[in-house]
């Protein structure tokens, strides 16, 4: 261990990175299937079935990244886990009930008697909405330092709406990739309608974060950091412009590059997420608790790390396998 320097330094940092990557993968992957749920009311009955077929084989594994992310928070930063989740007690409960509703609606909507199907469709939408709103709310509260004051809650309500629209946007880009014909055209319209939520959300958080904390302000707006950080907002702006241009001309002939909007959206989320991670480092509970203060004992982190080194590449490999097996346009999901 000592080859890398002080394990009480590099282990918490490694786990913060791992947790960050898990959260990012989660918001992209579960983001698209939550988004599909949010778009449900805009689709007709057959389109709903087709949209479910586009996410059916993946959603279970997508949601597992949330378990891994909160699991890493739990096991690597136990003190922070308690502080954050106790402060967010109510939105967490709303999110969990939302996740329950939508997770089981996947199964029930096709297994329950036909007359109940529309109710489970509705449960799928409501569950997705509860999950998205509460995650956006938690994001806002986190940025505001996890204190329940009226302005903070107001800001969190705003980010709740923006993140929800953002999820519906990335969901629409996934449907563009997975669907064809009329549904694909509809999805392009949905994406055009949703991209503004994403832009406003990223802007709101980017503007608010430095003003909540002078520490974060200094991290961004001092020389020379400002210079080498400037590509981040510039890249985001370029991505947004490119996405907008692309959506206006889609679908491309022969349906080539149908994955590009989803890819560009993922890149956009990654830059936004990278910016946030830079702002908050080294704090895991904003301005209160650093990753180093809240980390588990090095010997426990080390034994988790040993497992992670073997397991994470395996997880990534078979995730890729699952996406490969179900590649291409979504087709009818059948057991036989």
């Amino acid at each position: 261990m000592d080859y890398f320097g002080d394990p009480a330094q590099w282990l918490p940092f490694t786990f913060a990175m791992l947790m960050g990557v898990s959260i990012l993968i989660y918001v992209v992957l579960d983001g698209f299937d939550l988004g599909v749920g949010l778009l449900f009311p805009f689709a007709d009955e057959d389109e709903k079935d087709n949209m479910i077929a586009a996410i059916g084989p993946f959603w279970d594994a997508n949601e597992t990244w949330l378990v891994l992310a909160v699991g890493l928070l739990l096991v690597a930063f136990p003190a922070a886990h308690g502080t954050i989740l106790t402060a967010l007690y109510l939105p967490v409960a709303v999110m969990l009930i939302g996740l329950i509703l939508r997770g089981v609606a996947f199964e029930f909507r096709v297994k329950a008697p036909l007359s109940y199907k529309s109710r489970w469709n509705w449960a799928f939408f409501v569950g997705s909405l509860m999950t998205s709103l509460s995650q956006g709310f938690m994001l806002g509260m986190y940025v505001m330092g996890l204190t329940w004051t009226l302005p903070h809650v107001a800001f969190a309500l705003l980010t709740a709406v923006f993140l929800t629209i953002g999820y519906s946007f990335i969901g629409a880009t996934w449907v563009i990739h997975k669907a064809q014909g009329n549904l694909q055209l509809k999805a392009i319209d949905w994406a055009k309608g949703g991209i503004w939520g994403l832009v406003l959300g990223i802007s709101a958080i980017s503007i608010a974060t430095p003003f909540v904390s002078s520490r974060i302000f200094d991290k961004w707006f001092s020389f020379p950091e400002f210079l080498w950080l400037s590509p981040l907002p510039i890249l985001s702006a370029v991505l947004v412009a490119w996405l907008w241009q692309m959506l206006k001309t889609m679908p491309f002939s022969g349906d080539r590059f149908s994955w590009l909007p989803f890819g560009a959206a993922t890149a956009l989320w990654t830059t936004a997420f990278g910016g946030m991670a830079y702002s908050f480092y080294p704090y895991v509970v904003p301005e209160k608790l650093t990753i180093y203060e809240s980390a588990s004992a090095p010997e426990s982190l080390f034994i988790i790390l040993v497992g992670t080194i073997f397991v994470l590449p395996t997880i990534l490999a078979y995730t890729v396998l699952a996406y490969y097996v179900f590649r291409g346009k979504a087709t009818e999901l059948r057991y036989d």
């Binding site: 079935d49 989740l85 967490v92 996740l99 297994k111 397991v311 997880i315 078979y318 699952a322 057991y335």
Partner: protein, 467 residues
């Protein structure tokens, strides 16, 4: 009620709801693999029919297990932050290994197992089924390791009130783990046996298309009849292990207040925790001593040994433990008698005396009995977990920290509101789950499983997702 009690009820509600579904998926995964392999070998369509029917129940149960499991992982933080703050160095790696080795494995290969049968080669599909079954079992293993460590902790040292691991081998293979893991695995297989037997009996009773049903029913009944006696033996060994490491729990299970030699086995009693005595005892003389010590006059420690000098009660409330234990044993005995009676009926010779009667030899009353006992495994499993978990109180980690030390400082009304919301959701989902299983059974009997939805309504895509 205070936030502590409400949080306990909320956690109990969540974990009770959650355990119902892993109890089914752990064993059902292996049963599906068995069906799949039987089909690979014999190419007999009946086994594939059985697979296709039960894989739907698996998918439904798996989804219920995943979503309620996510709830659990958050509840550690929202309601019990003290747990991870004190023993996080030990619980953390165990939970991490659970998520990494098991959760992902099953979640990813589930997609291929459910929807991949026509997209991948048969051996890939069989392998995916195996990996899902293996994943659920690994998941159960790590969770049982952590749970057992909370009952019989070892391999750690306390530094400034925080547990630090000293010996991972000792932590993983702690004294109660092998017993608890075996007991739970068998409980899962028995639960699934009775579920398959019950639903198959239901399908025979309503008639119609019964392809694969009789094979499934016979497999389930034979499995139950074979496993039930093993479970009773393992349960007894688990009890002896508990007597050694958690004598207060055993005293509560048996309703024994005073340490005594030749303790009676109480068949019925109303333990009164306030008066610290039993009312209306009916017991079999000396039998409790014999079961627990294998000596008719062996000594069994009483609950009064676990009250400190200043009157602090360091044993669980007796009545819930006492009764949960009896419900578990009673259900188990009923499961034993039913499965053995069914095997005896199936083994009878036919009129011309050449062959065994098999499933045809089961009278209608017996089939109704199996339908009624479809979910008997749930009852026994829940009662068993209540026995062991309530039996550990007031400890959260035996001898290390009490449950009260872990509770979050969340206002009681807030906990009450989320508790009510969870209970409402769980009640609806449980009703829907059971109703849908019977609905699937009726649908399969009508032979509708593999046909498209409703004629004419799916012109655009003709899709029957997840069907």
């Amino acid at each position: 009620m205070d936030a502590f009690l409400l949080s306990r009820i909320q956690f109990a509600a969540n974990i009770s709801f959650h355990i119902l579904f892993p109890t089914i998926t752990i064993a059902l995964g292996w049963v599906l693999l068995y069906f799949r392999v039987r089909f690979n070998i014999s190419k007999d369509q009946r086994w594939m029919d059985a697979y296709m029917f039960w894989v739907k129940v698996f998918a439904l149960s798996f989804a219920m297990g995943v979503v309620s499991g996510i709830t659990m992982s958050f509840q550690f933080g929202t309601n019990w932050p003290g747990f991870m703050e004190t023993v996080g160095n030990i619980a953390g790696p165990l939970l991490a290994y659970e998520v990494m080795t098991a959760f992902f494995l099953e979640a990813v290969f589930l997609g291929i197992m459910l929807f991949g049968a026509s997209r991948v080669k048969p051996w890939v599909h069989t392998t995916a089924t195996f990996l899902v079954a293996f994943g659920t079992t690994m998941s159960a293993f790590w969770i049982i390791v952590l749970n057992s460590w909370m009952h019989t902790p070892q391999g750690y040292e306390m530094i400034d009130g925080v547990a630090h691991a000293t010996d991972w081998w000792a932590i993983v293979f702690n004294p109660s783990m092998p017993y608890r893991f075996t007991h739970m695995m068998l409980a899962s297989f028995l639960t699934v046996s009775f579920l398959i037997a019950g639903i198959s009996a239901f399908r025979i009773l309503i008639g119609g298309n019964t392809a694969g049903v009789k094979s499934a029913l016979r497999t389930a009944i034979v499995a139950a009849a074979l496993l039930m006696p093993v479970q009773i033996l393992v349960g007894d060994m688990h009890g002896l292990n508990t007597k050694e490491y958690q004598p207060a729990k055993v005293a509560a299970m048996e309703g024994i207040w005073e340490t005594q030699n030749g303790a009676d086995l109480l068949l019925f009693a109303l333990p009164d925790d306030d008066a610290r005595e039993n009312r209306f005892e009916i017991g079999i003389p000396n039998l409790a001593s014999f079961i627990l010590t294998h000596d008719w006059n062996g000594e069994v420690k009483g609950l009064n040994e676990f009250v400190t000098e200043d009157g602090e009660v360091m044993h669980p409330r007796v009545a819930p433990v006492f009764w949960s234990f009896r419900v578990m044993v009673g259900t188990g005995v009923l499961m034993l008698l039913t499965s053995w009676a069914a095997v005896a009926m199936m083994a009878r010779k036919t009129a011309n005396g050449n062959a065994r009667r098999g499933v045809e030899g089961l009278p209608r009353l017996m089939l109704f009995g199996f339908v009624a006992m479809s979910f008997s495994g749930w009852l026994a499993t829940l009662a068993g977990w209540y026995t062991t978990e309530i039996g550990r109180q007031p400890w959260l980690v035996q001898g290390v920290m009490t449950t009260e030390m872990a509770v979050a400082d969340v206002p009681a009304p807030l906990v009450l509101s989320t508790l009510l919301a969870y209970l409402a959701v769980y009640a609806i989902l449980l009703a829907a789950y059971i109703a849908v299983i019977f609905h699937l059974a009726r649908k399969a009997s009508r032979g509708e499983t593999l046909k498209p939805r409703v004629p004419g309504s799916g012109a655009a895509v003709a899709a029957v997702p997840a069907e």
